[in-house]
């Protein structure tokens, strides 16, 4: 059986009184694209830095590609690519020198693959890193993360600064990695991107992992926007009393609401209050789903 790409058990990190991570149990399967979501300060970067042994857990443990994140840290690094958030590199080195430097440290890098990645991302490697725009600097960061074809690529906000065309190419690259049986762990706020490429997502809030699910599952049980059109005016109190119904608004013959339950129950209730002429239901996208989680954290 293949080891999970990432496995954490009770992973906890406290900074004094600040609880950055709490009892995080997470399993990221090999060969998937896993989206890691959460509001600012939720603990995403802390989790990534902990599993990469850049910081040490207060409690709990983590395994990366089947190896202990602390005891086998060096061995793990032979099998991963990493793109940190707020990427900073050596300003006086050119993009090419920077890639060569990390390629030499990592070993096993095929330079023709580097050239191919640069071409796909439209990256000019000749300027100095200090002279790059943030988007072009990010491309260099992406190339160094992908260049050794690692088993696991961990990326923290990778799309920052990339233009839409490059973002699309980058999404294709991530899907290709997964199709080769390798794993992508993607922390991002670009929810449309996560929706487009991720097989599963995890949501972290205030240091707690509050949801792990496939994107499809999440969307199917998500609150959707429903609009019912009746032949005449109807009483809305029936809907307001239903479980899963919120935000009921009635105008003329229309009733709009947010609904998080079984659609059949809603239609039965609608048939009882009047003659139903039309129904429209809009499936929630990830952004709506996660706004619910995010807003919950602010409450």
């Amino acid at each position: 059986m293949t080891d999970p790409a990432i496995l954490t058990e009770g992973l906890t990190k406290h900074y004094g009184d600040v609880e950055a991570l709490n009892e995080l149990d997470l399993e990221v399967e090999t060969g998937e694209v896993f989206g890691f979501l959460g509001p600012n300060g939720a603990g995403k970067t802390t989790m990534i830095r902990t599993i990469l042994d850049l910081i040490r857990p207060t409690r709990g443990s983590a395994k990366v590609v089947g190896l202990d994140s602390h005891a086998d840290a060096v061995e793990i690094r032979r099998h991963i690519g990493y793109l940190p958030s707020d990427l900073t590199m050596y300003p006086r080195l050119t993009g090419r020198d920077t890639i060569k430097y990390f390629a030499n440290l990592r070993g096993g890098v095929d330079w023709s693959y580097v050239e191919e990645l640069a071409e796909r991302l439209q990256a000019d490697l000749s300027p100095k890193v200090g002279d790059y725009s943030s988007g072009n600097r990010q491309k260099v960061g992406l190339i160094q993360a992908f260049m050794n074809k690692p088993k696991l690529i961990v990326m923290d906000e990778p799309s920052s600064g990339l233009d839409p065309l490059v973002q699309r190419e980058f999404q294709r690259m991530m899907r290709e990695v997964a199709s080769e049986g390798r794993t992508i762990f993607l922390s991002s706020h670009t929810l449309s991107e996560v929706q487009a490429v991720a097989d599963r997502v995890g949501v972290i809030r205030e240091g707690y992992l509050v949801e792990v699910s496939s994107v499809d599952d999440l969307r199917s049980k998500a609150i959707r926007s429903v609009e019912l059109r009746f032949e005449g005016s109807v009483e809305t109190s029936v809907f307001e009393a239903m479980d899963g119904v919120t935000d009921v608004q009635a105008t003329n013959h229309h009733v709009r609401m947010s609904y998080g339950g079984n659609l059949v129950d809603l239609l039965r209730a609608a048939a009882d209050v009047g003659t139903l002429v039309d129904v429209s239901s809009q499936e929630a996208d990830l952004e709506q789903i996660f706004l619910t989680y995010y807003e919950g954290s602010e409450a």
């Binding site: 830095r49 990469l52 042994d53 850049l54 910081i55 040490r56 840290a73 060096v74 061995e75 690094r77 032979r78 991963i80 690519g81 990493y82 940190p84 707020d86 990427l87 900073t88 590199m89 050596y90 300003p91 006086r92 080195l93 050119t94 090419r96 020198d97 920077t98 060569k100 430097y101 990390f102 030499n104 440290l105 990592r106 070993g107 100095k128 200090g130 002279d131 160094q144």
Partner: protein, 549 residues
């Protein structure tokens, strides 16, 4: 002027200024306490001309000598160094940090920002001067030492105006170039060359009077502790400082401001030229990114070249200069008591070895070498964390201990390279001056000097690895360098404190008189341990903690 820029700059810099000035005040306290208890019979027999030379008025106690040793040397260099640090970071520092854009995105002019920064330099120097002035008056009072009509206030005033001169010089160079390293490098070089020039030229009959070309002369040439404020000299320094400020305003408004980007260097142009690309690529491209060691070499080679060039210049000059000084002058030094000898690095200037030790090995080599090693040691670990590159570096299959050890090996190579430059410069100087000094003793002393500065580098590396803070590492090591020198130079003159000298690494560098006696292998071992032990401690210190940044 912008009040909020002024206040922010003050807030950023006040702690450094207070630490520097209070440290100098404490050094004065310790030095006076040591001097107070020594045998004064030698002091009483000193000819008045020597007392005058050291700014000691008639009727003052022997401890008054501490003012000359601490204030006119360490104090003046420290205050000027802090001023240079502030001046060079004013506009150029904002450009280096990439904050100038957001600052000037507000409705403020470049001139107003520069004015706020300049005002901050003036205020903080005033505060630093005030602390030293208070310490200068309070210390003799507390210790019951008679300083007669010694002009402490005049000395501090001279120090402050001199520091303002160097601070505004750095500010001007920074305003014109946008490069803080250039600004501080130019200013420190002018300061150090001036210090050395005014120390040596008066002894050379043929060059008598030429010391006036150096700014340092206008700080101390009039002997302010004895003669009070020399308004003419102060007008020269103050006027020059104002002229620098005015030029700075012109410069900052004439050029393009830098973003955080980088400038094109000569080697970049060579890489672009098809005829030189292959060679330049080997030197600056592939080679420097071939691994962590070569990258570290590349990162610090500029600093090695600068400090090595200064060291070479100073050391090669000393031979011919020594030959120019009349023998009678050197003979006069033989009557100096220990307390005065301590003030010139604890060396007997009446001998050729003493002269070389004082002018090259006791002060210049440790200071220039410590600058190099502190820069390397503090940036080794904490610098990568400050620049947010350590995380990326550690995503490579590399153990943290390997990073520490690799950087330490590069420090060893640079420490010995610096020693080699010192050796070559001194040896060539000796040949040029026709001086009878063996190559072996020069090599031995240079080697011990390399080990001394490596010890400072190891200390900086340990703090860098343990704390992840470049500022803690560099400031604490700088303080250790100063305390170690102080302990070696001054504690030995008092029998009660003599034993403490052994705690100073300088004792193992020059205590065995290597320029006379040759290599002291026992001392070399102790000095080597001052590097090896901190490096070994740095490994677990770095491995155990969370990464910063």
């Amino acid at each position: 002027m912008l009040a909020n820029v002024f206040m922010k700059t003050n807030r950023d810099r006040t702690l450094g200024m207070l630490l520097g000035s209070v440290s100098i005040g404490l050094m004065l306290l310790f030095a006076m306490a040591v001097y107070r208890d020594i045998d004064v019979s030698l002091y009483d027999s000193l000819p008045p001309v020597f007392l005058e030379l050291f700014g000691v008025p008639e009727g003052a106690d022997v401890a008054s000598l501490a003012f000359g040793a601490i204030y006119s040397f360490m104090g003046a260099l420290t205050l000027a160094g802090l001023a240079i640090s502030m001046g060079s970071a004013s506009i150029a520092g904002e450009e280096r940090n990439g904050t100038i854009g957001i600052l000037l995105g507000n409705p403020v002019s470049r001139s107003r920002v520069l004015a706020a920064k300049a005002a901050s330099v003036v205020l903080l120097l005033f505060i630093g001067g005030l602390v030293m002035w208070a310490a200068g008056l309070w210390t003799p009072e507390v210790l019951g030492i008679e300083i007669a009509d010694m002009r402490v206030g005049a000395m501090v005033f001279h120090m402050t105006v001199s520091a303002l001169f160097y601070g505004f010089l750095a500010l001007m160079v920074g305003a014109w170039t946008g490069n803080p390293q250039t600004a501080s490098g130019v200013s420190v070089t002018i300061m150090m060359v001036g210090y050395l020039g005014t120390s040596i030229l008066p002894f050379i009959e043929q060059l008598d009077g030429w010391e006036r070309v150096f700014p340092w002369y206008y700080f101390n040439g009039s002997n302010p502790t004895l003669n009070g404020i020399d308004w003419e000299h102060m007008a020269i320094l103050g006027g020059a400082a104002l002229a620098f400020l005015a030029f700075g305003f012109v410069g900052v408004n004439r050029r393009d401001l830098r973003s955080k980007g980088t400038k094109r260097t000569l080697i970049d142009r060579l890489r672009d030229n098809p005829r030189t690309a292959a060679v330049a690529e080997k030197i600056a491209g592939s080679a420097r990114v071939s691994g962590l060691a070569m990258k570290t070499v590349s990162d610090h080679q500029g600093m090695l070249i600068i400090t090595g060039a200064i060291m070479f210049y100073v050391s090669i000059l000393m031979g011919p200069l020594y030959a120019l000084v009349p023998d009678e002058t050197w003979a006069a030094f033989s009557s100096f008591p220990d307390v005065l000898v301590a003030m010139i690095g604890g060396t007997d200037m009446s001998t050729v070895e003493g002269f070389f030790q004082a002018e090259i090995f006791a002060i210049t080599m440790p200071i220039a070498g410590a600058v190099l090693m502190i820069s390397m040691g503090s940036r080794a670990i904490a610098g990568e964390e400050r620049d947010h590159t350590m995380g990326l570096l550690l995503s490579s299959p590399m153990d943290r201990s390997k990073i520490v050890v690799t950087k330490a090996w590069v420090m060893v190579a640079f420490g010995f390279a610096f020693g080699l430059v010192t050796f070559l410069g001194t040896w060539l100087g000796v040949l040029m001056g026709g001086i009878d000094m063996g190559i072996g003793v020069i090599a031995a002393t240079s080697l011990l000097g390399s080990l001394l500065i490596l010890g400072f580098g190891g200390f900086a590396l340990l703090l860098s690895a343990a704390t992840g803070e470049t500022s803690i590492s560099s400031w604490a090591t700088t303080a250790w360098v100063a305390v170690a020198y102080f302990a070696f130079a001054f504690l030995g003159v008092n029998p009660d404190t003599e034993a403490w000298v052994q705690l100073s690494p300088y004792h193992y560098f020059l205590g065995g008189d290597p320029l006379v006696e040759g290599m002291q292998w026992g001392d070399a071992l102790v000095l080597a341990a001052t590097f090896v032990v901190p490096v070994l401690l740095a490994i677990p210190a770095f491995r155990r903690r969370d990464l910063k940044g």
